[in-house]
Amino acid sequence: MSASDPGAAPVLTVEHLTVRSPTRTILSDVSLEFADKEVTGIIGPSGCGKTTFIRTLNRMIDTSPGLRVEGSVRYRGQDIYGRGVNPVLVRQRIGMVFQRPTVFPMSIYENVAFGLRLLRTEEETVESVVRRSLTRAGLWNEIGSNLDQPALELSGGQQQRLCIARALAIEPKVLLFDEPTSSLDPIAAQKVEELFGELKKDYAVIIVTHNLQQAARVASRTAFLYQGRLIESGPTEALFERPKESLTQQYITGRFG
């Protein structure tokens, strides 16, 4: 499916992924690969299973009781649903940023240091990592001099970028974004969006969005989900300009969704 990037082994490989709730099938037989140092967009109408899908990629799905996962998600060849795999370690390597900013009620500094404290990192290292992470999230110039300020006092857009900095601090290999700008005003959203160009230099970035323009702007590959099925995936340009499936064609031209 990802014949366009020969040689580069995918970071994440999803095979025959099916997720069922007691009453219905939320995702059925999704297979998809994610390459390193690339932004992949997941698009689809509300209720298509985008959020469930991205939550299977770092086992956050475990926190929703009653959902059964079949198939496999391999991170660098290792099935994250395999026997003996610790979801805590999976999530340290595959970070996640949510739809609404979820800063902790602590100082800016402690928010970014949160993951490092879990890993019992030395304070000297923590300081430099906090600085580097805030810089990479485009926040250092804005709030670098107020690190003791409570994070909840920041604006929504700043909070969201703080969440990105927090995720970056523990050096994940993959970053998952679940509608990262949908709760932000246009200017704050743009600032978050501008980060993706930088982030993809170091990480595999996967972003769920219902904003088609956003997918077109930031993603080099795009996958279209509809009613729990993967309808089509490929290079973003091709998917938007020459969709192979008529459902894709209908969705991107705004005939439903």
Binding site: R91, G95, R100, T102
Partner: protein, 304 residues
């Protein structure tokens, strides 16, 4: 002027901004309900103020510095041993009930499988519903008779602790369960284990509520005579060790109030003990407000 077909707007020409007809009747009704609610509120407040007035009126005229510093002598003297005893008993009880209640709350809010949590919550509610005197007898048989300790401050403190535990457990459980789920998601997505989430994220958020629960339990425990009556016993001299009996304000009220009025100053001591209990509860209340406000300030913006 009637409104055409019930739709607000000019009927013919003039646009009335004063209410008439049905709308006017509704406004009157609204006001009547407001007065009725105020009346109900006053009815609730009346017993409180009546009690405060009655206790103060009987206690204040005879209240002296000696009441706080002297031992009880015969039918008079002061309440010093009972004040100290009350603080010792509440101290032991708070330590025990906070330790058990908070840990149990941690367990059911995060770790316990749903059916276990459900049973634990029901058990907690049941324990809160057990009459204090029954707990008192439980403590008496277990900690006074069975252990052979006799009446001791320790037995009283433990029994009072059991009495206070369900309140602290319940507030801890609720406070932790009510932490916004997004906080849990974010912590777990950062690679927290559940225990790390509890200690580093949920507990700091829940602290103001947990503190309120602890102080509420202390205030309740302060007023209870039944759990300590047959466990801590009574003494009119200051406590010498945890293994000796001790007086307390609650039991002092219970004991002294029942004497016939010919023993005059006993009754005064009972009212003074009641007055001091009320003052301590009041101070506790103000303290917890100030303390939890300080913690709450940190959380501004979290629940939006």
């Amino acid at each position: 002027m009637a409104l055409a077909s019930g739709v607000a707007g000019p009927a013919n020409g003039a646009d009335l901004l004063t209410s008439t007809g049905r709308l006017r009747r509704r406004l009157v009704f609204d006001r009547v309900i407001g007065w009725a609610l105020l009346a109900a509120f006053l009815v609730v407040l009346f017993p409180l103020f009546d009690m405060l007035y009655w206790v103060s009126a009987k206690a204040l005229p005879t209240l002296t510095w000696g009441t706080l510093t002297q031992n009880q002598v015969g039918t008079g003297g002061g309440l010093y041993p009972m004040i100290v005893g009350t603080f010792v008993l509440i101290g032991i009880a708070t330590a025990i009930s906070t330790a058990i209640g908070v840990v149990a709350g941690f367990y059911t809010s995060e770790y316990a499988p749903a059916p276990v949590a459900r049973v634990a919550r029901i058990a907690g509610n049941l324990l809160a519903g057990v009459p204090a005197i029954v707990l008192g007898y439980f403590g008496y048989f277990l900690l006074v008779i069975y252990t052979g300790w006799g009446f001791t401050a320790l037995a009283g403190g433990i029994t009072l602790g059991i009495f206070m535990t369900p309140y602290i457990y319940r507030t801890t459980d609720v406070a932790l369960t009510n932490v916004p789920p997004a906080q849990r998601e974010a912590a777990l997505a950062m690679g927290s284990r559940r225990g790390q989430y509890l200690v580093r994220v949920a507990f700091p958020i829940a602290i103001p509520t947990i503190l309120t629960g602890i102080f509420f339990a202390m205030a309740l425990g302060l007023g209870e005579a039944a759990p300590i009556l047959y466990t801590a016993g009574f003494s009119s001299t200051p406590i010498t060790s945890l293994m000796s009996p001790t007086g307390s304000l609650a039991v002092a009220i219970w004991q002294f109030y029942d004497f016939p009025s010919t023993y005059g100053s006993f009754l005064a001591l009972a009212f003074q003990a009641a007055f001091l209990s009320i003052v301590i509860v009041l101070v506790l209340n103000v303290a917890v407000q100030l303390l939890s406000d300080r913690y709450r300030r940190r959380l501004r913006g979290l629940y939006q």
